[in-house]
Symmetry: C2
Subunit: 187 residues, 2 copies
Amino acid sequence: MDTRDRLIESTRELLWERGYVGTSPKAIQERSGTGQGSMYHHFRGKPDLARAAIRRSADELRDRAEDAFAGPGTVVERIGTYLGRERDALKGCPVGRLTQDFGVMADPELRRPVEETFAWLIDRLTGLLAEGRASGELDPGLDPANMASALVAVVQGGYVLACAAGSATLYAQAVGGALGLLAGHVR
Amino acid sequence: MDTRDRLIESTRELLWERGYVGTSPKAIQERSGTGQGSMYHHFRGKPDLARAAIRRSADELRDRAEDAFAGPGTVVERIGTYLGRERDALKGCPVGRLTQDFGVMADPELRRPVEETFAWLIDRLTGLLAEGRASGELDPGLDPANMASALVAVVQGGYVLACAAGSATLYAQAVGGALGLLAGHVR
């Protein structure tokens, strides 16, 4: 990793360990083994660095989700791939957990990539569910937008349950329940 | 509010705003308008105070959930009451968001009430769904434990989506989607 990457990765770690308010420029320099001059050569300051760290997490989430959504299979199979994909459930969602960080939510510039990521995710899933409804794969009475929100919520809430229990099994249970519920709407 | 209550409420606010690591005994004293001597008269220190604050949030969540579960109506109606109940979705779940606080999760004494609350909630809902299955209200193929985890996850993830969008509508959409999914399993 080059210096810029090390700075971004260290900021991602510290955001999780200490939250935005608790993360100091000094701590970022120490964690990344970078001097103050070098940090300010690459970034204007902590907010700029946090924005880059959050954008990287958001881009990764989006790329991984799109891999599942654009993959092979029926709509329900592709949603199953997305929900069932291996996740480090005990670390929480790198994007979702930022919504529970007061410092991130209070800054519009830091909140924007978080907001955009979930808006994209729900919109993408809504389109996929509408496609499944139009093709006759899914129940015509199904509401794609509500269903998409519920499915994304299961993933985010699955992280919360796994963290609370200290066990990834809870994530798998929540996803299993969601797929069981969805199965009742396949024609 | 008496001094003890003020200390607990101030700690709850600060845990949300700054996280556990970022909350100092001094900040708690300032927020609550309490002197150091008075704080240490009521609590042994910050961990003791945080434990009381977390236990209070956990007890409130449990009491409110039990009100819905033990209320009138069919199993699906009672679950609908629980999911649809008015919540301050933009503040996040006072218990669930602690799972995304590294400082809370790293301390077994602080994590325990969080873990116990979700274990109780999933267990209570599992029993309710099993009751609905046994009475013939719900599809016999339904897995109560998985379904219960999915429903609790929708609530927790609904908070995440509402916070991300800055709008409680997303919470309502996720809950609407979950109830729509559940409706497909009513006989």
